[in-house]
Amino acid sequence: MLFTPHTSKACHPSPLRGVDQLSAAACVFGILLSCGSTNAAFAAHDSLTEADLLSDIPVISVATGMDQALNRSPASITIIDQQMIADSGALNWVDVFRLVPGFQAYAVNANRFAISYHGVGQEFPNHLEVMVDGRSVYEPIQSTVIWSSLGIDLDDIERIEIVRGPNAPTQGSNAFLGAVNIITRAPIQDAGTRLKVISGDNRTREVALRHNNNLGTADYRLSVNYRHNNGFPDIDAFGPDDGEEALSFALRTTLTPNLNNSLDVDVGFSRQDTEFGYPSSTEEFIPVRYYSQYQRLHWDHLVSDKQDFQLQFYRNYFRAYGTANLGLLSTLVPPFLFGAPFNLVDQPFIFGFHTMESERYDLEGRYRHQFSDRLKWTVGLGARHESVDSTLFLGDRGKVDEQSFRIFSHSEWSPWQRLTFNAGMMVEHSIQGTLISPRLSLNYDLHPDHTLRLSGARGKRTPSITETNERLVYRAGDLILEDQRRTEELDEEQITNIELAYLARLPDHNMTLDFKLFWEEIDDGLEDYKESFNDFPANLDTSRLVRDNIATWETRGAEMELTYRPGDHTYIRLHYTYLDLDSELIQTLAPLTFTDVDNSMPRHAGGLLVNHRLNDAFSAGVTLYHQNEVEWLSGDFIDEFTRLDAQITYRFKTGSSAGKLQLIGQNLGDNYNEFYEENVFETRVLLKATLDFP
């Protein structure tokens, strides 16, 4: 038992407030466990009954379902499995999320990705919760997900579960617009060693090694990955390239001491060296090193065939370091700064964000009970301690800590065979106060294979530590000038969402269709407006950014996802998104002026994936993605583009080993731009080889 109230040190008073509160939560879970960990689960049975024969078996691996059948889910859900990733020839996160309706995925720099759902094209999208095996990887320091620091090899992914819609009632504040859970392959699932090598244009080199084995009674998977590329070729032509050199390591371990308990112990780190900056001024590119590490413990306890309990504890640590030496000040700033009152001394000008760090401890317990085949219930408690340390973002405040607590519950009730109600709620308590995010849905089966869903959700999002405390200060020689950026007293952002969805499963035609119409409104959205101040001399910029709850976004649209298997060897997947954004933001307070960003979502976007297995050795496929023109909020106007990728795969066996060669052609048509007009994506050809040793 992990947290027994009588033995755990965590239950005793601690001088650290955050840890003390986490301890309290641990105690609560300990008590829960002591109640639930009896061996009643395997108490002697008189006889086998029909309920035993018909009981649920948790879905794993190749199956695409979840604990909750898709036609009973309160939200639209997309599942991207390993086969789909392989069939699409995806090589990075942008490639993967362009398979999902409603998502915007782009490369801000060649190796710095931004992904959002119904997003407006921010450099740091902040409304999508992303988890890896249930561990949140949302970074409070930049209020976004640093995708390149996840340290996950795409080959290690079992499936990605994507909730397309506000999911704060289940995952909390950061799942404001949607949630993603990346589920990696269980160590027990594979055996032996896999070697993967990718080589191709832009000096792309990737070597990955995965080894599965067992040590005593523990099964483990060890993954090591090295990546290198030179980034966008055109960026390379102007100055420093925006390539990367990255290394990651992950160890996932599963222990199964007995039939009703299993324990996962995961550790990992990743390091990426790349360039950060605006490609229109590559001379100001900052070489940056992202470093992250994590530790995770997850315990599954089967109380009975109808009840289980999960406890998870993890720690994330993230550090980014970035500085650039731009040369002597005298070559960069006007001469008058060397006189009074600034009295600047000529010296090397070091530019960048230096070091920023964040750390998170999170503990969560979750209990699930299936009362009958008509009523399921989940309840959970969580506690989190986060800290952020950055001179750039927080000025002289240095390190800032924050604790938050959450309790959540969800129930699924089917009063009649065709009708399912879902009701869920999250209550979060943080420095911001207590936030309540509810959701209600009604699913009606027109026919066992045709379901209508009507759902409504309210979500609230607490601004992250950095959003709340950010303050940028300019120092010019002896003179400390007023903040270049300041933050007002922030309130929570709020979202209201209504969806009408239709889900069809046509097993006779091997077809599924997921279609939804939605309306959502974000109020009190966080954005920046400009304000003038007088501290700077007139010949310097006298405006600064102020963050406040000044934005309203109202989005209407439709999303469609269709899969079709016309035969055993062919797979077709089509998706389409229509987005209509009506927005209003304060541009300046004095005088009061407004602006909008209505063109910051692509109105039409969609994709097609076709894969055909020609025989046991060869398969071929194409992936098509089209996006309308868009004026990204923090990026450039990007003209509409269509990207066509194609793959040919050859599978072979040599001795006791199996191998796969995949020739991937990316963007076989015209060049297009990623986020900034200087980021020109050209045609690329790559070869991917994998070899599995027993």
């Binding site: 086998l48 009954t49 024969l53 018909l54 699932q189 039939l259 085949d373």
Partner: protein
């Protein structure tokens, strides 16, 4: 056809103390009548409101009325209280049909000497009840679980070259090892079986077993045992590229290559045919245990693809299975 509440006709409400209590117990009593004065009558006792009971009831009723249109079916859905359910007996109808274990137990407790047909129970429950009240000459039971030879036959069809079959058993299914071994031998399999207790490490126990096998056969045990072992069996099966043969639709959906099981419609149909035979006296009443006459095969093409196994479509699989059933040793 008309649907009438019969509470006043049978004085049932009076017996159990008024409409409120009647509703509170969750007792719902209906008549499905065809309007004939000399109709055969059947009392259908349903164990609860679960979907699988309802589906069995629907298929039983529709099949029986097609075979014997003059039949009147009175349906009683049991409540949660065994004491109050016991007050429902005796039943005046010609034949008693039960669906599910609670209803079957109630019928055994209230032996009337009338012909009774029990549906949707397991052979385990049947053996227990027969042991408690032997020599039930007027009781026939259609059980849910498939005979071991049917499971092994599916394994043989889907893994024609397999030599070694393995299984793990729990406290209940360990009793079936001998029968499974015999079935395996008849189909040229050698069977290795291991019995797991709750203290066993499932992966450590199953890993060497599955690694040295050609096919894994899952036997039903208690629901919690099934759930605790299925995940690891499926993972290990994938790892060793060994197909898993399951015993339910849920098992196949979770990752087994295929399953054979009796669905509610299979049981309802079989039960209705037995009932019609008894009502119309077209055949001598066959007391005792009946394995399901009809069965459902459910396969998972995604698993077949992952294991690189050539899987016929379900209609072709049915044909192959039927042919093999006829030709089996």
């Amino acid at each position: 056809m008309e649907l009438l509440a019969i509470k006043s006709r049978e004085g049932l409400v009076k017996r159990i103390g008024g409409c409120h209590r009647y509703l509170r117990w969750g007792l719902i009593v209906f008549i499905l009548s065809c309007g004939s004065a000399q109709a055969n009558t059947v009392r259908l006792l349903v164990s609860g409101e679960q979907n699988y009971y309802r589906e069995t009831q629907q298929h039983f009723s529709s099949t029986l009325l097609a075979l014997s249109p003059d039949t009147r079916i009175a349906v009683t859905v049991l409540g949660d209280s065994a004491e109050q359910n016991a007050l429902l007996a005796p039943w005046p109808e010609d034949i008693i049909v039960t669906i599910g274990t609670p209803a079957t137990e109630l019928a055994y407790q209230n032996r009337s000497g009338k012909k009774t047909i029990n549906l949707f129970i397991t052979s385990d429950v049947w053996q227990r009840l027969e042991g408690e009240t032997p020599d039930q000459k007027n009781v026939a039971s259609v059980v849910l679980d498939q005979a071991p030879d049917r499971i092994m036959l599916l394994a043989r069809i889907l893994a024609p070259n397999a030599r070694k079959a393995v299984t793990v058993t729990g406290p209940i299914s360990s009793a079936n090892i001998a029968a499974l071994e015999q079935s395996a031998a008849n189909l040229n399999f050698t069977l290795a079986a291991k019995t797991l207790s709750e203290h066993d490490n499932p992966v450590a126990a199953m890993s060497p077993l599955i690694k040295n096998s050609d096919v894994f056969v899952a036997l039903p045990d208690s629901a919690v045992f099934n759930r605790a072992t299925a995940k690891w069996a499926l993972y290990l099966g994938f790892r060793s590229k060994i197909p898993v043969i399951g015993f339910s639709k849920a098992y196949t959906d979770a990752g087994a290559l295929a399953s054979i099981y009796a669905s509610p419609s299979d049981i309802g149909r079989h039960g209705a045919e037995l009932t019609a035979d008894a009502l119309l006296e077209t055949k001598a009443f066959s007391a005792g245990l009946h394995h399901p006459r009809y069965y459902t095969l459910h396969s998972n093409p995604s698993v077949a693809k992952a294991l690189n196994i050539s899987l016929p479509n379900e209609s072709a699989l049915y044909k192959m299975y039927e042919d093999a059933l006829v030709k089996r040793p």
